[in-house]
Structures are given as structure tokens and as C-alpha cells.
Amino acid sequence: MLVRRCLRLCSLCTRVVYSSGVRRGGWRTLVGHASVKHANRTDVPHWGRVMFKRFFHSDLGELYKNESVQVYLEQLMEEHRDLSKKLQHAYLSESDRKGLTKKHTELLPLASVFRSIEQAQKDLEEVSSLLKGLAGTKDEDEDLTQLLKEEEAQISSKILALRRDVRTQKTQLINAEVCDGPLFLHEVFSLPQLIKALIPTDPLDSSNVLLEVVSGRTTGGDICQQFTKEMFDMYQGFAFYKNWDFEVLNYTPAEYGGLHHAAARIAGENVYRHLKHEGGTHRVQRIPEVGLSSRMQRIHTGTVTVIILPQPVEFEVHIDPKDLRIDTFRSRGPGGQSVNTTDSAVRVVHLPTGITAECQQTRSQLQNRETAMRMLRARLYQGMMGKETEQRNTARKQQVGTRSQSERIRTYNFSQDRVTDHRTGYTTRDIKEFMRGGEALDDLISDILEHTEKEALLEAAENSSSLKRTESGPSAD
């Protein structure tokens, strides 16, 4: 009886998924991933197994329960309280004030979420104790109904408010342990927000990117080139879906209609954050359309390399003109008025590093040169940043997104109609829809981001707590 009421409570706020464990009676804490879209298909809560498209990952709840994270959270809250006090009372110099205010503002969203969680927690404690008290009484139904109705109103509005702030997060579908679990309903709804506020941000996240696709090699006719074209189209579709600007910088078709390599500049909000894990080798498995293999229906494997470079703000990369060699058609002959040509291709070579960039997209040599310079800047920046990112890598992070180039990160199997990302195990079907670069791709990317951001948070938390330990050690008197 109690269970059913709580069920209704839950279902009003979110869609609930049950694990098979429910059959055995009682509730079981289970936090799994599934998008709201999938939940639509299992609208009416029912007992029994529900098929997930993805495998279960460790949950946000566990993350929250993690000791390091708790400690980290406490530290940050303390810091925030300190800052608030200082800013209000202490006498500060102009620059100090600026610095502290900045830090304070950074911590503000976290603090507010934390406070709302605390409040929600209190509320829920009240409700649950009331429910407990009413359990087993005869008037149960009436009183409970009334209480629940009130609570429903409160919870709904609160959740709406909290939800509004959670952006493209997946809603957590949970079974909450009302009776004796430490994990309360409201807490869980705010968790995505909390975690989001805790995650250390990559400073490059908001940058625009330079995206390149390069066809690999295969024994299966032109499946690589064909697939390269489809990949490029997919990312173009994705840019459109996300309302980003997609500017083709280089487009080199292959002999028989596919694409050999291409490059584009994608500009918009948080482009790098979304695309940074797309870099790597993508594998395709399909039956080629022409040739012997096609007649024999034999599947071939090919690869496409995707390269994602964050595009820095112009002034960040300083290039000395003396370090550049620029090759054009005109470099070979006498140039000037004596030659007329339509060949306006430009290739720029950075002599100290050997990095090159070329462009022949437009009919104006100057415009091609500017585009090539932009590409060169991005590549140089990547080279510079490469060392830093290497240092940031930890054993944990290597599980997701930092495989070496030769290892494929994702497989697109056309015959079996599925796409699998090997870093997270995420699998999805309807490859045709996926290649449109819309919601399906967005889901996959969100999944990877959740993973990596979780890892980043854990790492930050552990680093910070170990730091505290070393600090408090010697100072303890």
C-alpha cells in the first residue's frame, strides 16, 4: 500500500523505471541511465523488466555518495561561506576584492543548489515521517490523499524550478528508498545540477573548432571515401541541429564520388565541449555497393579519422612571418603581371615545426591564404596545447576519450544497423537516423560527456582532498 502511494508520488514528478528486483518485493535502489525519450515508450509504470538501449553506468547517486566528492563539496561550501563573510566585513584592497568576488561568483550556483537541496531534504523528511505515521491506520486513504495532494503541488513546483535550470541533462530515473535510504527524492532531482556545478570546466570548452575528416584505407572498394562523405554530412547536420555555424574550409572529393578529406570550421556555443570526444578513428563495416564483394554480400571494414582542434582566439598564437613559407602557383614562375592563372591554391608551411595547412576553396588567393593561416593557427595551437593535455591525463581518464589514434573509438555497422562507442559501450540502432547528425548523435555525445565529466570531478575531488590532507598534516599542532 505504502509502496503504491509512493509510486504515484514519484510518477507525477518523473517517469519511473523498475528493475526486475521489484518482483522480489520491496524497493531496490537502482539508478540507471535512459533518456526521457526512451521513457516515453515505457510511460505507464509497470512491474517488470524494461529494456534499456544503453548499458548501466555507475550512477550519479554513487558519485554523490563518494567520500571524496562529499569532502570536496564540503570544502567548496566552506570556501563560499568564508568568501561571503570576507566580502561583507573585511577591508580589502581593490584587486583583492576583485579576485574574491570572482571566486565567489563562481561558487554561487553551487551554493544555491546546495541550499535548495538542503531545504528539499528537510521537506521530504517531514513528508516521509508523516507517511510513516499514517501507515497502517484506517484513515490512511483520506489523510494520505490530502497530504499527498499538498505535497504534490509543492514538489511539482519545486521540481519545475530546479528542472528549468538543468539544461540538456538526462533526467535521472530512480527508485528512491523512501524509508531508509539516504538518497531522497528531491536530492536526486537536484543532483544533476549539483554535480554540474562541481565539475571542473575545461577552459577550452567554449571554443570553436576546426573539424577534419580523413578517409582511411580499406580493401573494400570505396567504402572509406563514401563513409567519409557521410561523416562530414553528419557533422554538418549536427551543427545545424545545434544551431552552430558550419563553414567548409577544404573539400577534396575522391575519385569515384566519395570524399578524400575535408575540413570545416564550426562556430557556436560550447562547440569544443561537444565535439572534443569525436576525435579519433571511426570504423565502418558495410557491404560495398560495387565490386565483387557487393555481389557476394561480403562485409568490409574501413576507417575514417576525425580530427577536432579547438580554434583559439587569434592573438593567442603568435606566428612570426619569418617562420612561414607560403607556396602558391605563382611562387614557381616569374609571377606578377606576366602570368595569368586561375590556380589560387595556397599552402602555408611553418618552418620551425613543419606544420602545414593548405586551402583552395575560393577563387581569391588572398582569401585562401587567410583560411590556410587560420587552419595553421589551430594546428599550432593544438601542438602547443598537446603537451598540456598530456600532463592532465590520468589513468582514469584513459578509459574514456584518450585512446591512441590507431584504436577505433566507434564502430558503425551498417549490416547490423548499429553504432557502438567503444569507450562507454553505448550502443544505438537506426544508423540511418544517426547519420543525420541530429538527436541520436547528441544523445551519444551527452553520454560520453557525462562519463568524462564524472571522471574529471572525481579526480578533482581526490586531488583536492589529498591536498587538504597534506596541508593539515604539518600544520596540526
Binding site: K229, R330, S331, Q337, S338, N340, R363, S364, L366
Partner: protein, 364 residues
């Protein structure tokens, strides 16, 4: 040097290099001479590109692939073949389209520059109409414009008081590339430009109208060599003087690519595409340059600058000559183009140094 003026309807070739040793003496436009037959069935743009690329290669036409791609892309309404979608490129062409492609590509067979064949080309961020015999802008000249713009930009940054009305004079407008580029990038600028060729003046006017810049540009039909006085009477001193004057050495004219000066062995008359007068700078290539620089002190306002595109051999010669021959003009520096050749000269109008006998005040 042949100096026949051309009619506006291209040229006439009294023979042509056809396959084999046969010599043809036909008085007809080249475009029908040895015109390849239209395909029997329908073809796609991609197939047309391949076909014509091969044909151009066979006939020794330079840049066979680019020629074929640019012409066909243009006919499909695009600037480059890459910007067209795959669907478009594999869609069959209509009869009219195919005929058009054949017509234009056949014209290219006569070595007419692609820019004239499709009657347009890009310069920096502009698309300009092209028409023989008006000189086709070269990529180096894009850098000349860049140079001028950077200089002017630096001036405003350094806090040099901005002219209430910055003005610019260009000698030798051609298709209008330089002036129109400057006007487009500097909304405050007003320009005057001139050319000895009526065709050039007409084309510049047309391009100015197409770009909506005609209200800021005065265009004059003046020969700077012959009508210096007329020029000086027409204008007030300007802040910027810019020019890409004919600077080739006469001896180099003969070895130009067929696109510029086509030699047909079985011909009496030479077909030519670009106006040689736009290229030939006399024996030392400095004929027109010297004239411009002689007039510069009277054209420029104080501290005004002159920017010239020249032959790589010229800068030291110009420096020397100006020092000895032009009062009030100082050679500032020579700049390189991106291929590393000294290509641009910058000169500045200074105040005239007072000589020992000079009793009069500063000359302007």
C-alpha cells in the same frame, strides 16, 4: 609589337592549331573552329568536367582541370565545383546547359583566359565582371590593397588625426579592382580613378554600379603619359596614391604565356586577349612608373603616400631615380609579396628641403 585595338566581340583568329600538321586558313571565330561535337546522349556535370579536362590536356591548354571545373561550376551558378552538392553534380544536364558548356569550353580551347570565358572573377572579397581586353587582376595586387589598408589602419591606431575626407587616387583602374576593394573596406573613403583605355573605364563603371560604390568613385578616361595637365587640373591633393601600372620589360613581352599573347603560327594577325598596353612598361619597365612618380608630389597632400606594384627588379632602381629626380618625394620602403619577391614600393611626400639658394617658402 602589334598594337591593334580589339573590337568588343573578342577577337578573330585566321587559323588555329588544330590536331595534326594541317594548316587551316579560315576566316571565322575560333569558337566554331574545331568545335568538338556535342554528346549524343545526356551527361552529368562530373562527366563533362572529365571530358573537357581530357580535351584541354590533349590540346595543351594550361590548367586543364581547373579550367574545366571553373567553367562548368559557373554555368551551374556556383563559383567552385566543390561548393556544389553531389546530387547536383550527378544530375543530368539539360540540352541547353550542355550546349552552353560546349560553347564556353570551346572558347577556352583558343587559350582565352578562363576569367574572360566566364566573364567574371574574384578579387579579395569582391566578384568583378571581366571582359577582354581589360587587364585581369593578379593575386599580387590583392596584397597591394592589403598593404594600403594595413597602413591606413595603423595610422588611425597611432592617433594620427583622421582626414575629414580621406581620398585616394588610382592610376590605371583596369576592371576597378583596387579602387573598388579600397572603397568597400573603407566606407569613409572617396576615390578617383583613371585609365587610358575606354574599355577599362567602361568596365570599372559597370563594376562600380554592380557593387553599389558608384557614388564614391570618380572615373576618368585619361592617359597619364599624355594628359598629365588635365589630370592635375581635375583633382585636389589626395592622401593616398595607388597604382598597378604596366611594369613589364618590353623584351619580356614576347615570352608571355599564350593566354596573354597568343601566337598562332598559321596566322597573319595575332589574336590577343589582354591589352598589351596594360603590361608593357617600356625598355626598363619604368616608363609609366616614372611618370606617376614625377606627378606624385603634385597629387599628394603633405605626408601622403604612394603605393606601387612593380617588377622585382625595380625597387632599387626606383629608389635611386627618385632621389635624384623627384623633389619632395621620399622612397620609404620596398615590401615583399608572399612569394618573397620585392613587389611593392611605398613612397611618401615630404616637405621639400630648403636648398642653400632657396629663399622662397616651402613648395607644395
Amino acid at each position: 609589337m602589334w598594337r591593334r585595338s580589339l573590337s568588343t566581340s573578342y577577337y578573330r583568329c585566321f587559323g588555329c592549331r588544330s590536331s595534326g600538321p594541317k594548316v587551316l586558313w579560315k576566316s571565322q571565330a575560333v569558337r566554331t573552329c574545331s568545335a568538338p561535337a556535342l554528346p549524343a546522349g545526356r551527361i552529368t556535370p562530373l562527366q563533362a568536367v572529365k571530358l573537357w579536362k581530357r580535351r584541354f590536356e590533349e590540346r595543351g591548354v594550361t590548367e586543364p582541370e581547373q579550367s574545366s571545373q571553373y567553367i562548368i561550376a559557373h554555368l551551374l551558378g556556383a563559383k567552385t565545383i566543390e561548393s556544389l552538392e553531389q546530387e547536383r553534380l550527378t544530375e543530368f544536364l539539360s540540352r541547353e546547359q550542355t550546349e552552353q558548356i560546349w560553347k564556353l569550353c570551346t572558347t577556352r580551347l583558343s587559350r582565352m583566359p578562363v576569367q574572360y570565358v566566364i566573364e567574371e572573377w574574384d578579387f579579395r572579397d569582391l566578384t568583378l565582371k571581366m571582359r577582354p581586353p581589360v587587364f585581369i587582376p593578379r593575386p599580387e595586387t590583392e596584397e597591394l590593397v592589403e598593404l594600403v589598408l594595413n597602413d591606413l589602419q595603423m595610422k588611425t591606431e597611432m592617433g594620427v588625426p583622421a582626414e575629414t575626407e580621406p581620398t585616394c587616387l588610382e592610376v590605371g583602374c583596369g576592371s576597378g579592382a583596387i579602387s573598388l576593394s579600397l572603397l568597400k573596406s573603407l566606407p569613409q573613403l572617396k576615390g578617383v580613378t583613371l585609365d587610358q583605355s575606354q574599355d577599362a573605364v567602361d568596365l570599372t563603371r559597370e563594376n562600380a554600379l554592380r557593387l553599389g560604390l558608384e557614388d564614391r568613385l570618380e572615373i576618368h578616361h585619361i592617359d597619364v603619359m599624355k594628359d598629365a595637365e588635365t589630370l592635375l587640373s581635375l583633382i585636389r591633393p589626395v592622401t593616398t596614391l595607388v597604382s598597378n601600372p604596366p611594369y613589364l620589360f618590353s623584351e619580356d613581352m614576347a615570352s608571355l604565356e599564350p593566354e596573354i599573347l597568343s601566337v598562332c603560327f598559321c596566322c597573319v594577325l595575332l589574336p590577343r586577349f589582354e591589352d598589351p598596353a596594360a603590361l608593357d612598361g617600356g625598355e626598363d619597365g619604368l616608363k609609366v612608373i616614372k611618370q606617376i612618380l614625377t606627378l606624385a608630389p603634385q597629387i599628394l597632400s603633405s605626408y601622403g603616400r604612394a603605393y606601387l606594384e612593380v617588377d622585382p627588379r625595380h625597387p632599387p632602381l626606383i629608389r635611386q631615380w627618385v632621389e635624384g629626380n623627384v623633389d619632395g618625394l621620399q622612397f620609404k620602403e620596398a615590401r615583399h609579396d608572399i612569394t618573397g619577391r620585392p613587389r611593392f614600393c611605398i613612397l611618401q611626400k615630404e616637405e621639400v628641403k630648403q636648398g642653400p639658394q632657396a629663399g622662397s617658402g616651402l613648395r607644395n
